[in-house]
Symmetry: C2
Subunit: 201 residues, 2 copies
């Protein structure tokens, strides 16, 4: 195959194509953009990557990925330390924190129980959650797992394990997404929204 550019540029394109949301075509466009904006984007991006790569740590408390340990969430003294929200993944923590509704702490499970994938309780950060609830004076655990079969199975399992500790256990509400249209919703969501209906003030 003839080449219109050096192999280093090929390597760059291949690495960019590994990012979610970038296919081969947009990876090429990105590479070209980087080549054209060497000083304003390419070099700063390289430095940012190196800076972060040097500092990545898993938080010992909640398993968040951050440049600090304990992470920025666990270190933040303005947060309510008596509430812990259990999520599957760091992405879920970021999503919940962006909503700016929740101001407590988090605990990242690192996945869900899955018979199919052979993931049992010992493969998730469950022991550390139980220890945390017992020793840190946690009063409420919010189970914020995905509304998938595996997520809900894991929720039930956690609720059982936590129940013996005498902590308040809650879960995210099911219902109509804000901006959602009834016509496009699946039956399960509609049924859940109906069952959980509330009085209109």
């Amino acid at each position: 195959m003839p080449r219109s550019h050096g192999s280093e540029i090929d390597t760059l394109i291949q690495l960019l194509a590994k990012l979610p949301g970038l296919g081969p075509r947009s990876a090429r466009r990105s590479a070209l953009q980087l080549l054209k904006k060497r000083d304003s984007v390419m070099v700063p991006l390289a430095n940012a990557l190196i800076g972060v790569a040097d500092k990545i740590q898993i938080c010992d408390v909640c398993s968040n990925i951050d440049t600090h340990n304990p992470c920025h969430v666990c270190e933040d003294l303005r947060r309510d330390r008596k509430t812990v929200c259990v999520v599957e993944d760091v992405a879920d923590l970021w999503a919940l924190d962006r909503s700016e509704t929740y101001r407590g702490l988090y605990h990242i499970l690192g996945g869900t129980l899955s018979a199919l994938d052979g993931i049992g309780p010992d493969d998730l950060n469950i022991t550390s959650l139980l220890t945390r609830v017992e020793s840190d004076g946690v009063e409420e655990v919010i189970l914020a797992l995905n509304a998938t079969v595996d997520g809900q199975t894991t929720s039930h399992y956690l609720a059982e394990r936590l129940a013996v500790l005498g902590v308040k256990i809650t879960a995210l509400a099911h219902g109509l997404p804000v901006g959602g249209e009834l016509d496009y919703l699946d039956d399960g969501t509609l049924a859940a929204a109906l069952r959980a209906r509330g009085a209109v003030s």
Copy 2:
């Protein structure tokens, strides 16, 4: 605003969001992917960026962006050196070269003439093209500019300037895109395809 991660990660997300095809949401997903795949993606990507950033050069002959000067295209002795394809941008060179149909050299204009944007002949690599055609024994110049108003205006202008040099001047054919459906084509393309119709062998 409360923070769920360090400011270095914020910087990384903001820089990733500058890549074409990545919005704020996919930039966050990309950043998270990088954080999770530190050794397999993040560090290699950082190294690739630095490696390329150190070597980026504009080819003195054709204005291609590459890690060599002259670029890989101009250096490739297997290419037909008597044909030069004029394109607007490096992206066009990459696209044409990927098609593996053309095996000649290129010349990158760096844009098109545009009265609106105040881009005149002196802002484009036109003088270097004329010099190249005169002194390098070029026999055919293929005008492969975009089929936009500015692209076609530039094509006409170049054809006039090149005519006095006695070189063969050709342009890309207009017509039905491969896989295109008549019903979805604009009138201009259909008219061009009809005018340029050929005998079926």
